[in-house]
């Protein structure tokens, strides 16, 4: 799979390279949300904010701050993580739905600032022509950069999910009251989870800058936040690679459906409904469950 992704740009047109790069970025974004959604059971309803803030931070540092774009890429995720920490401190004491609702409001606040502050963020036009380092300036270069960073991030996230931190995070998802009773500081744990998710969301945002060379306020809008949740559900939110698959699927579908109709969100809504009825575990969750059953049956013979 990895090898196929590595040699793939030599064989196809620019458009497809761009599309696959976008799938990787979006997949990474969904995976970062799933750190708290699937593995922590926290309904993070404003995840796009960290994507957007990571991207804007990198772009603003480069364009307005005049720093080297590489530093922008490095600092973008840090800014996103810092914002996640601040929002987390405010929200984390609330339970499930209230947590999500307060997050939406805080996220909308950030969106409104970005959307209105013409002199600094470019308002609803966003920012275009953000300088990208020459090494990764070409579409091939950008693609390989995205591929490498995505793989590295996924590896780190995989480590975290399988660490004691990740295990305990899952136990909080399953039963926060009991987790507290066995000696876990649940709020601290959740806060750290949020910061991690915000950081990797920010990484995805900076990768988007590499691919597109521009940023715009829609990246922070709450509808995108919901789309990211749908990607996780679609791919399978209790599997590690499910969100990667879900993100890729949504990008691919939008590219195809977008040719025929403007009503992409309607199509997405129908997909979500079918998903809830027929594949509640998501695509990857469904297949791993089938595979598991098949294996168990095989052993039984």
């Amino acid at each position: 799979m990895l090898a196929a992704l590595a040699i793939f740009p030599t064989m196809v047109s620019r458009y497809y390279i761009y599309l696959v790069a976008l799938m990787l970025v979006t997949g990474l974004l969904a995976s970062s949300l799933n750190m708290v959604l699937g593995f922590g059971g926290m309904y993070q309803f404003n995840h796009a904010v960290f994507y957007g803030v990571g991207a804007y931070a990198a772009a603003l540092l480069t364009v307005r701050g005049g720093v080297n774009p590489w530093w922008g890429y490095l600092l973008g995720p840090v800014v996103a993580a810092a914002l996640s920490l601040v929002m987390g401190l405010i929200c984390v004491r609330l339970s499930k739905l209230y947590f999500g609702m307060l997050q939406i409001s805080l996220g909308s606040l950030v969106w409104a600032v970005v959307f209105r502050w013409y002199s600094f963020t470019g308002g609803d036009d966003g920012m275009h022509g953000v300088p990208v380092p020459r090494l990764i300036g070409s579409i091939d270069g950008a693609y390989y950069f995205v591929l490498i960073v995505t793989v590295v991030c996924l590896a780190v996230m995989y480590l975290i999910v399988n660490s004691p931190f990740g295990r305990v995070f899952e136990s909080i998802r399953d039963n926060p009251e009991r987790a507290e009773a066995i000696g876990v500081n649940v709020r601290l744990h959740q806060l750290i989870g949020l910061v991690i998710a915000g950081f990797f969301g920010g990484v995805a945002g900076t990768l988007f800058v590499t691919v597109e060379g521009s940023v715009f306020p829609d990246m922070l809008f709450w509808t995108l936040s919901l789309e990211i949740i749908i990607m996780c559900l679609l791919g399978g939110w209790f599997t590690f690679l499910g969100p990667m698959l879900g993100g890729g699927m949504v990008v691919a579908l939008r590219a195809v459906v977008g040719i025929y109709t403007d009503y992409w969100t309607m199509v997405l809504g129908i997909i979500l409904m079918l998903l809830i009825f027929f594949l509640p575990q998501g695509v990857l969750g469904f297949f791993t469950a089938r595979l598991g059953r098949g294996r168990a049956a095989g052993e039984g013979d």
């Binding site: 004691p164 899952e170 009773a181 000696g183």
Partner: protein
Amino acid sequence: MLKVKNLRKSFGPFLAVSDANLTVAQGEIVAVIGPNGAGKTTLFKLITGQLKPDQGQVVFKGQDIAGLSPHRVCRRGLSLSYQVVSVFPRMSVFENVRVAVLARRRQVLRLFTPAVRLAGKETWEILENVGLSDKAEVISGTLSHGDSKVLEMAIALGNRPELLIMDEPTAGMSPEETRATMGLIRRLNGDMGITILFCEHDMELVFNLAQRIMVMRQGKTIAQGTCDEVRCDENVQQAYLGGHGNA
């Protein structure tokens, strides 16, 4: 080891626990009995920090722990095994116990060490001790009721408590499971030196296991003493045993 003094808790106008008093000495097995609604579960939740008392003291190993958050209470060596099964349903039996062991070892914030390398041996010993080792890989949400109750205890043991509080450990168990659990409780107390406080409706089990008994009624402690003392106590006979007519 544990001393509860004049503990009081109300939910709105309803006084769940009005005046609870209890002492538990190191190494003892103590039972709390009382009719339904007497406030036993509330008392246990007050001791372990899941509820905050309105008044009164909970002294554990010489320090007042009333009102501390549950994870702080747990870290002092006091664990609760729940009446209503409360495990981590999507995780395997093994991981259920492992997280408790990790929590006790204060390793829960390690981000980059694989969890499979930590706490495996200790987790395995606990599962063998309680008799769940053959179900280690089963997803805990699919366990039978009796096995879930045993897992409850195993999770609490993962914290290696000095005082283990059990809220109706054998509720809903078959007679064989009940016998096995009684044996387990005796072993925990005898071999591992864990002090045990529990409540139970099965009087035979209570008088069999407990060295001392505390009796509650309508949120008040009405008697505490050895089994014989409690059996002969007039208040108790009137309020509880007589009322039931079957003990």
